[in-house]
Amino acid sequence: MGSQVKDVIIKPDAPTALMLDKHADYIAAYGSNKDNYEYTLSEYLRMSGMYWGLTVMDLMGQLQRMNREEITDFIKACQHECGGISASIGHDPHLLYTLSAVQILSLYDNVDAIDVDKVVEYVQGLQQEDGSFAGDKWGEIDTRFSFCAVATLSLLGKMDKINVDKAVEFILSCMNFDGGFGCRPGSESHAGQIYCCTGFLSLTGQLHQVNADLLGWWLCERQLSSGGLNGRPEKLPDVCYSWWVLASLKIIGRIHWINKAKLRAFILACQDEETGGFSDRPGDMVDPFHTLFGVAGLSLLGEERVKSVNPVLCMPEDVLQRIGLQPDLLS
């Protein structure tokens, strides 16, 4: 009797070399066929999908292959009267896609293509009395949205427009027994939420409130024998956690607690040699989401063929240097 540790086994023929050209080709071609089933069904997150694709292209030095004008026009068409931005045309505005849009425009140094003041107004209006942020006018509360709010405002240089102290208070109320964070007060710790909350605390200059040793331990325990990382105890590894977990560790100054060589091998094994792109685990179907986080993870691990990525905003460091945004990290 006893629990089996959930994990994957990396096959001996799994990829071991980084195939950046194939990944660039995959992303460049993605979405060119608008009749593609997956593509159409994921319209509800299109703005984020674009952010994933464009960011990974920029990290690989291939941003010029994408159509800046078409993308800018699309984003403009997605800004609603209230100032918020939707995932696609005809869809409703939301903080998630407002952030993605601002991130994309920052990559292109073209933030003024949209009404910035209106965006700020939209974000401001979503802060609740307890400091939390709703995702949109319908009121769902989640620490992810707190991150979206401060990340958006940081990129626009408008953090003074919200009640930062209250926002911090809410995030800290979501800290758990294990040092991690969940969606709302009382929610279980989850690597995705931890990324959002440590990122939030970095942007608001409050990282000293994190118990870095305790949280760092929880995070380094995400690494399984395969070398991959899971999102919380007793779950399977997934390449996107190479981002959520690794970036969090970098933010709190404990990235050396992960075995880098084994993680790198796992990430590389998640490549698809045929189609290009990365999947969640070796042998599964690829998508732009996992492609970005695979490459971004490798960047954090020191991959020289990829640009340096900022662990708080998941954007190229050179873009943030241009904006003048250098969020604190613990050492």
Binding site: L45, D92, F177, G182, R184, E188, H208, W218, W257, K262
Partner: protein, 559 residues
């Protein structure tokens, strides 16, 4: 996007699949467009509900359509009678149930359900709780469901005891229990709030909790959730807020104050007079500091023939500390010892020794049965730290060695943790010896910590370790005169910043590579002796003349 296996199939199978998807796509696009156009026209009717239902039942992440349904339902509220509205919302809940069966992890579905339940004229919270029971029996780790349950419990007033009993049942029957233990960690404090007065009146339920966790990891020592929870149980005491040390120096006319945690808001009273001083951290990159320093106006305390009385107030906490500076003395300090503060036990609670002893015994027994179980080894270390940090030092080092072997992926974590514990032990030894010399040579140190406890140290020996940097926090060693750090891998000296008494720095055989790395030393006014032998920087062209310019006061330079 997750868990979709790439399956290789024949050309014929591929073609068939392609045709099916094309058909599905056509339908999807048609229905989606119909929804959008109806919404654009402002139509809120049953047809709209039917259309959105079609899409959402297999695409519950299409958030805009849930929004549309909310608009339709809100409109129904205004034109229908209460019991009709109740029926409509009832139907909505049934629809949501089927959505959740297909996809139990959609944020949109769960939020919509909560939205519906809170708007219904007569919500059936018991039914909602049953839904949660069922959902969790299928997947005990579904955090959407747990969050929904917490909302239901709040709205319907289910008692903490009932919920604790629920977690009892789950923990007793399942292996994947992390969510349940987590929930317990939030419920226990509600039932048994900690009292500030020892002995803790909540000892009995705490002992019961220890028993519960012990049962869990004795039954299944690989059930990691129990071990995580156990570490929390052991470590629940918060350190008391206090001013841990005040130091005054006539030479620099400086006051340094160390708190139990990073804080702000200090008032200095000198000989009964509040002083207008600027408090600052020891390093610009170290903003949230537990240690603050201020400079007194020249001449305030420099005359050694005068006695002075200082009081430092931590205004926010209404705490203060006095420190007398006697005639003939160039400095003075006042502090609590680390032992008195139970400083290093703050990671582990102030539970009775007998409880911890029996816990240790149990874990040792388990270790004999499961020598490769890293959770057990780590917990033994934590228990030994609580009981007798110095007495168990040798055993602790042996257990860390075991950990590095059985869990080599995390050897960097164990090295840092061991370094922390060795530093704690050295601080304790230093206090027993009543000296201001901190010596931790050849102890495999990979990191520095508790530097706020070293304010009074005059000599520090860190030689023959694996340190890579002296971080900004190192500047808290305001009394430091001699630094011995030979035979490390130090490449960064940021923390050697404006150390007023630092005279001698020994850095033989390290990794100092550039002149820029040595820049901080220029800020140390009394630096006279510097040993840089065996560092890459000594190979730089004109290094001697460059250093003469950078550090003119250093007369004794070894390259």
């Amino acid at each position: 996007m997750h868990g979709r296996l790439k399956v290789k199939s024949t050309a014929q199978q591929e073609e068939q699949k392609r045709q099916e998807r094309e058909k599905k796509l056509k339908i999807f696009v048609a229905v989606r467009d119909a929804c959008f156009s109806k919404r654009k026209e402002g139509i809120w009717d049953d047809e709209a509900l039917k259309l959105t239902q079609q899409v959402l039942s297999s695409n519950p992440d299409f958030a805009t359509l849930w929004n549309y349904r909310k608009e339709i339902l809100m409109h129904q509220e205004t034109v229908k009678e209460k019991d009709e509205v109740q029926t409509i919302y009832g139907a909505e809940l049934s629809f949501l149930e089927s959505c959740l069966q297909t996809n139990p992890k959609s944020y949109g579905s769960w939020y919509h359900r909560g939205w519906v339940s809170s708007r219904m004229p007569k919500p059936d919270w018991a039914r909602e709780l049953t839904l949660c029971d069922r959902c969790l029996s299928l997947d005990e780790r579904n955090f959407h469901c747990w969050d929904y349950r917490r909302m239901v419990v709040k709205m319907s007033g289910v008692s903490v005891d009932q919920e604790l009993a629920f977690t009892d049942r789950l923990i007793g029957s399942n292996f994947s229990n992390y969510s349940s233990w987590h929930y317990r960690s939030t419920l226990l404090p509600l039932l048994h709030p900690e009292s500030p007065e020892p002995p803790s009146p909540c000892l009995k339920p705490l002992l019961k909790e220890y028993e519960l966790v012990q049962n869990a990891f004795f039954t299944d020592p690989n059930d990691q959730s129990a071990w995580f929870y156990y570490r929390w149980l052991l470590g629940r005491a918060e350190r008391e807020d206090m001013i841990s040390c005040v130091y005054v120096s006539r030479d620099e006319e400086r006051v340094a104050v160390a708190f139990s945690r990073p804080s702000v808001g200090l008032l200095l009273v000198l000989d009964g007079q509040p002083q207008r001083v600027e408090w600052r951290s020891v390093h610009p990159r170290f903003k949230h500091s537990p240690l603050w320093i201020c400079d007194l106006p020249p001449g305030t305390i420099s005359d050694i023939s005068y006695e002075h009385n200082l009081t430092v107030h931590w205004t926010e906490k209404h705490i203060h500390r006095d420190c007398a500076l006697y005639t003939g003395r160039t400095e003075s300090y006042c502090r609590d010892s680390a032992m008195d503060q139970e400083l290093f036990r703050s990671e582990l609670s102030v539970e009775k020794t007998s409880v911890l002893q029996s816990e240790l015994q149990s874990c040792n027994q388990l270790q004999e049965l499961e020598p490769l179980n890293k959770w057990c080894s780590l917990t033994i270390i934590l228990l030994m730290r609580a009981l007798d940090p110095l007495g168990y030092e040798k055993e602790m080092l042996a257990h860390f060695q075991t950990l590095r072997e059985v869990d080599s992926m995390r050897s960097a974590y164990y090295s840092d943790l061991c370094s922390k514990f060795m530093i704690e032990n050295t601080i304790l030894k230093m206090e027993y010896a009543e000296v201001r010399v901190f010596s931790i040579s050849d102890k495999n140190l990979t990191t520095l910590c508790h530097l706020d406890q070293l304010l009074l140290v005059t000599h520090i020996n860190l030689s023959s370790n694996q340190l890579q940097r002296l971080p900004p926090q190192f500047a808290m060693l305001q009394c430091l005169e001699v630094l011995e750090a030979d035979n490390n891998s130090i490449e960064n000296l940021e923390g050697l910043y404006h150390l007023p008494k630092l005279e001698e720095v020994l850095l033989k055989n390290n990794k100092i590579s550039t002149l820029a790395d040595l820049q901080p030393l220029a800020s140390c006014p009394k630096l006279k002796r510097l040993d840089l032998r065996g560092n890459p920087v000594t190979q730089i062209a004109n290094v001697e003349s460059e250093l003469a310019e950078l550090l003119p006061a250093v007369k004794d330079l070894l390259l």
